[in-house]
Symmetry: C2
Amino acid sequence: MPRATLELVAARAGVSRQTVSNVLNSPQLVAAETAERVRAAIEELDYRPHLAARQLRTRRSHVLGLRVPPVVDGINGAVLDRFLHAVTEQAQERGYRILLYAAPDVDEVEIAQYDELLETADLDGFVLNNIRLGDTRTSWLTERGVPFVTFGRPWGAQGAHPWVDVDGAAGVRLATEHLLGLGHRRIALLGWPQDDVVGTDRRRGWVDAMTAAGWTEDQLLGMQTLQRDGVEVGVSATHRLLADVGPTAIVAVSDSLALGASVALRAVADPPAVIGFDDTPVAAAVDLSSVAQPLVEAAEHAVSLLLSRLDGDGTHLVEQHRLLTPHLVVRGSSRPPAR
Amino acid sequence: MPRATLELVAARAGVSRQTVSNVLNSPQLVAAETAERVRAAIEELDYRPHLAARQLRTRRSHVLGLRVPPVVDGINGAVLDRFLHAVTEQAQERGYRILLYAAPDVDEVEIAQYDELLETADLDGFVLNNIRLGDTRTSWLTERGVPFVTFGRPWGAQGAHPWVDVDGAAGVRLATEHLLGLGHRRIALLGWPQDDVVGTDRRRGWVDAMTAAGWTEDQLLGMQTLQRDGVEVGVSATHRLLADVGPTAIVAVSDSLALGASVALRAVADPPAVIGFDDTPVAAAVDLSSVAQPLVEAAEHAVSLLLSRLDGDGTHLVEQHRLLTPHLVVRGSSRPPAR
DNA sequence: GGCGAGGGTTTGATCGTTCCAAGGACTGGC
DNA sequence: GCCAGTCCTTGGAACGATCAAACCCTCGCC
């Protein structure tokens, strides 16, 4: 059976090409009766529009670009994994598809990819997921008027654009308050270095909850370690905390660090409670409490923001964004303090 | 600056459209000198062909379809994650891109997606990654002559098609021999149910290594548990093995099961050695030895097989396939037997 | 009764590429 | 000096959709 085209459908319904096209794209222009007849013809011939032809004319591909980042540690990769799935599903439901592209962690290379994809494939927009302070990718895209959303806030004062993010401070505050509620007082933090904006944000949740519980900022400075991410780092940092601080509970800004803590605590009698961040499979596997990001929700909003810009009625509210609140998944590592 | 087109480049180089097209697609048809001139013009105008236009004419999109499966357990998701990245990178290097589609675990729904993608987007081929015994998707694709590769063997006698897979039996044999080499004799297996072909294959590696070491098949039947995947299952099954078999080492057919074993063994003095399968981030995190699948290599071959069919010179060797051997990643859980 | 308005439909051109059949230049042989 | 053959180039048509403008009614109004 040959491919059904607009022409064929038109002939079958006894109308012109354009009318068939209108039935699909601008139904309000077509008389109800005619539309009905056309729809029947479409059905009979199992007609589906050829996207490349449409794209050639309209310069719209109905495809969104998404980067698959180089696999690094693997633990946090799981986060992206779920986000990826949710984004794909959301986009699909709304008539868009997701095209992957690989790029190393170098802005210029990634920008070259944008250029290529826009020029040759007419991508309609991008979803970025690991923006940094002073990111040159976002400004490049903004300058060119390319629609995009980021999963992650633009931390600097760089131009505004739509974004979705999860409130890290709120998440860590939740975790800390949960531990306070269990009766813990001396709660230490495994944080990231100060130049990391995400880590600094998450740390704030701990600071807020702890100061509300009576600690002073000065005291807290002595109850934390700020180091880069990693299981090994978590192990050594925890040993230090045990020696210097003697905490009854530890809050970590990542599951990697929290896992390191669990490992370090294995040999300890009456081990402190531990809570991680991201609710990765690893956390579930080792019975570690963790702060869970609402990734499906994040993906929904990301796609919504992007498509409202794309399909919107011109009133594109450029500065839209959404900050989501994570929730705490309580597991075995949420022990009450030893008496 | 307006978009550069073939026409524009042709004018600039003082030749016709077709000649420019030939320079790009059939260079052997064009005189060297002319080609040089054309290439210069392309360079100057920063010309890049518009894929939709090409696609409209040739019915080839240079895009491959890849499914993002529903996120289930998360531990094994990490495997797909790395595969995904590798496939994207490989495809990109060879001038193809990866388009994602989401589908639930229902063949008919997925097939409907194929139909849609082929008809509306001219996808050139598919990469499938979770084929089952008696899969209807592969036969549908085969019937229609749609190029595809699977990551995973077609276990049944169903029609042959290109595939790439990792030799699970070899992997488990490697693990078992490693343990034998450490001095273990009584090595138990945490397996999957018999109706699972992958699990059965992996089990065979254990059987082979163990019989070579002097055990009889009958004896081995008493040294295994065959259950579905999961951390919880691993915990309870391990308790049973400890009571009934008293092994000095345990080989598991997945990291989930192996992790369950590690958890169950935490309270045990002189715990048995444990080895998992898949080398997921979880394994690395808890210092668990594990069999690693060569995913990058698998992706390379998958893309190669698919593209040789697509770009090949007609001599498409339909029944190509590749079985890769995994390697063992030795970590702390590879303890020698307690004396 | 003629004229303008406007809803509904048709017509022809167009997007950028490749296919096709035919045209032109150059070489070598007689 | 002509012709065949080779090699390269050329212009027109086609892919399947949308855009823009023209067209044809019917209706209401003066």
